[in-house]
């Protein structure tokens, strides 16, 4: 309370006040928060403006209808067929993100359950700090590490998978070789590591909102710790976990540099095998942006960016709404 007395008691300061200051301050901070809205709208407008020439030349829907990205075939005059098909990038983003979700969500739920409910209290803070550090490591570091540490580590398993299951009827196309390392699978694993701390952090908040009385009632009925988790914690947190997963998905869909470094950047068609190389929507932008010299090449990359904006915006809005609603329910 000493600080309060120090800072506002001297009457000299109060007299020095300019009467319009209050209004000016209010206008200034309102402008700052309105800026956030302007940024989001301007992002959409300017991306579309850059993408417009390509959209008009080839038609809005022709991009999603093809999985062949071949800038060298583009000419300034011919509009058909569209050499800038982006279906394989949408597919690549979906596959890598789904692999990441399948790996990261169960682990994140387990880690956050351990952190909030099971770990001894002296361990909780340092352990949460370490998990949070996973989120602090930059994307380019994960990519570099992925090339030299992760890919050699998964190569034996991937090679064996493609040799044993790569020619079986059902799983064959999904696990077909040859496995060179750079692949959807490698990108999915790197993404899983990168979204793990994000999902864990949100799950931890969600689990922390479960009322202690619920857990104590279960305990009083003779429940073991696992039964408390199953009866009191998890049912209340279901929508929160779903929201956390959706927000993690949004992050995975937009992750660029790490994926660019380990996915192999194959842009000519959809590779069905998860052990094969591919490309995602962000990775093709990062990979070709500085080298885009063909007609409509840059504009087509902007088309990819615009679709990416649309997809990640929808995913994030859904995720935020779900997390917010689950927070209000348990409050």
């Amino acid at each position: 309370m000493t600080r309060l007395a120090d800072t506002c008691a001297p009457p000299r300061r109060m007299r020095a006040r300019w009467p319009g200051g209050d209004t000016a301050f209010r206008v200034a901070v309102t402008a700052a928060s309105a800026f956030v809205i302007v940024v989001l709208v301007a992002t959409a407008v300017f991306l579309l403006r850059q993408a417009w020439p390509a959209l008009r030349h080839y038609g809005v829907l022709s991009f999603l209808g093809s999985d062949r990205w071949a800038p060298s075939e583009a000419t300034a005059s011919s509009a058909h067929p569209n050499p800038y098909g982006i279906a394989q990038f949408v597919y690549g983003s979906a596959v890598t993100s789904l692999i990441a979700m399948a790996l990261a969500v169960p682990v994140a739920v387990a880690v956050s359950l351990y952190l909030t409910e099971i770990a001894p209290s002296w361990l909780r803070k340092p352990l949460s700090g370490l998990i949070d550090l996973l989120a602090a490591i930059p994307s380019v570091v994960y990519g570099f590490w992925g090339i030299f540490a992760l890919i050699p580590a998964i190569r034996p398993a991937g090679t064996r998978l493609s040799q044993t299951l790569g020619s079986t009827p059902v799983l064959g196309p999904v696990l077909a070789g040859p496995f060179f390392g750079v692949s959807y699978a490698a990108a999915g694993i790197v993404l899983a590591i990168m979204v793990l701390p994000i999902i864990t952090a949100i799950c931890r908040e969600v689990f922390a909102t479960v009322p202690t009385t619920d857990k104590e009632s279960a305990l009083a009925l003779g429940a073991t710790r696992w039964e408390i988790l199953r009866m009191a914690v998890l049912p209340r947190s279901r929508s929160g976990i779903a929201g956390a997963a959706v927000l993690g998905l949004g992050r995975a869909l937009g992750e660029t540099i790490a994926v660019t470094m380990v996915i192999g950047n194959s842009v000519l068609s959809i590779t069905t095998s998860v052990l094969g190389p591919g490309a995602t929507m962000p990775s093709v932008i990062a990979n070709e942006f500085t080298e885009s010299t063909e007609p409509f090449h840059l504009q087509s990359l902007m088309v990819v960016a615009a679709w990416l904006l649309l997809i990640t915006l929808s995913v994030n809005v859904v995720g935020r709404l779900v997390v917010r609603r689950s927070g209000e329910e348990s409050a």
């Binding site: 109060m14 901070v29 809205i37 940024v39 770990a119 570091v141 039964e227």
Partner: protein, 292 residues
């Protein structure tokens, strides 16, 4: 749940329940251990590779013109990172804090909308932000350090707003009411009472945003572009950053370039960790202490 309140558990099912409990506890603990092991694997690998080349030469020289050559360092990237992130911080801290003041202290429909869009903006891929700055700026004025700073500013802004707004909500209303009762205006109360009380929390938020911005690579590819040849201190020209140099040298395929990139990676990780720990330390002396 086998043992509902109506069916009291027998001794046998109780034993089974305990066994299941032990197994689940072990699995959950294992998941936490695995996550930490992953972190240690990444950090140890980066340290092991980076220490081979990190040294005075690396920190004071520019890279050789031919990437296949050994020697040289990333000093131009380090300087570029400092300039670009510095400009981005100087822009995002005041604007972000002002916006957070509006969200937390004034409220209203615009504030609620901006608060929600801030959360959405946090999830916006940074490459999209980079493409936006390219469309807005680079097509008119060319690649430059300023364009890179603008992109990082947009990456940092929602992070600063979110962190600051959360801390401002922790400031006790008693302080605001006391100040208003003394005749201070709303603005004076915020500037002299609320913000100083939340100072350490706000600093934590800004430092974490800086840690994030230092490592960003994707938006800079589209804006600052990079410049591997000499030290550039004029932000209106294209500039290199540490992250860009790591990326460019890592993907060349030359062992010499990769050695430089590993040293750069270790430098970058150390910088990021320093900011994260600094933020954590400041956050520990949090609002509870300064408000008391």
């Amino acid at each position: 749940m086998a043992a509902g309140p109506s069916t009291l558990p027998g001794r046998r099912s109780a034993r089974r329940g305990l066994a299941v409990n032990a197994a689940v506890t072990a699995v959950l603990a294992l998941a936490a251990v695995a996550a930490v092991a992953l972190l240690l694997w990444v950090l140890a690998y980066v340290a092991g590779q980076g220490l081979r080349y990190l040294g005075p030469t690396f920190l004071t020289r520019t890279p050789p013109g031919d990437p296949a050559q050994a020697g040289g360092g990333f000093v131009n990237g380090i300087i570029g990172s400092v300039i670009i992130v510095g400009i981005a911080t100087a822009l995002s801290a005041p604007i972000g804090i002002a916006a957070a003041v509006h969200l937390a202290e004034y409220g209203g429909r615009l504030a609620r909308a901006a608060g929600f869009l801030t959360d959405v903006l946090i999830g916006l891929p940074s490459i999209v932000t980079g493409a936006f700055v390219y469309a807005l700026w680079v097509v008119n004025f060319g690649f430059s350090g300023l364009a890179g700073a603008a992109a990082l500013f947009l990456v940092m802004l929602p992070l600063v707003i979110r962190a600051t707004a959360e801390v401002l909500r922790l400031v006790p209303d008693d302080l605001r009411e006391a100040s208003l009762a003394l005749g201070a205006s709303h603005a004076r109360t915020i500037v002299s009472i609320v913000l100083p009380t939340a100072r350490s929390g706000i600093t934590t938020g800004v430092l974490l945003a800086v840690a994030r911005a230092v490592g960003e690579t994707a938006p800079l590819l589209l804006t600052a572009l990079g410049n591997d040849l000499f030290v550039e201190t004029n932000p209106t020209h294209r500039m290199s950053t540490l992250s860009l140099q790591i990326f460019n040298n890592a993907v060349t395929g030359f062992r010499t370039a990769q050695a430089r990139a590993w040293a750069g990676t270790l430098t970058l990780v150390l910088i990021v960790l320093a900011f994260s720990f600094g933020a954590r330390l400041l956050g520990r002396r949090g609002i509870a202490h300064s408000a008391r």
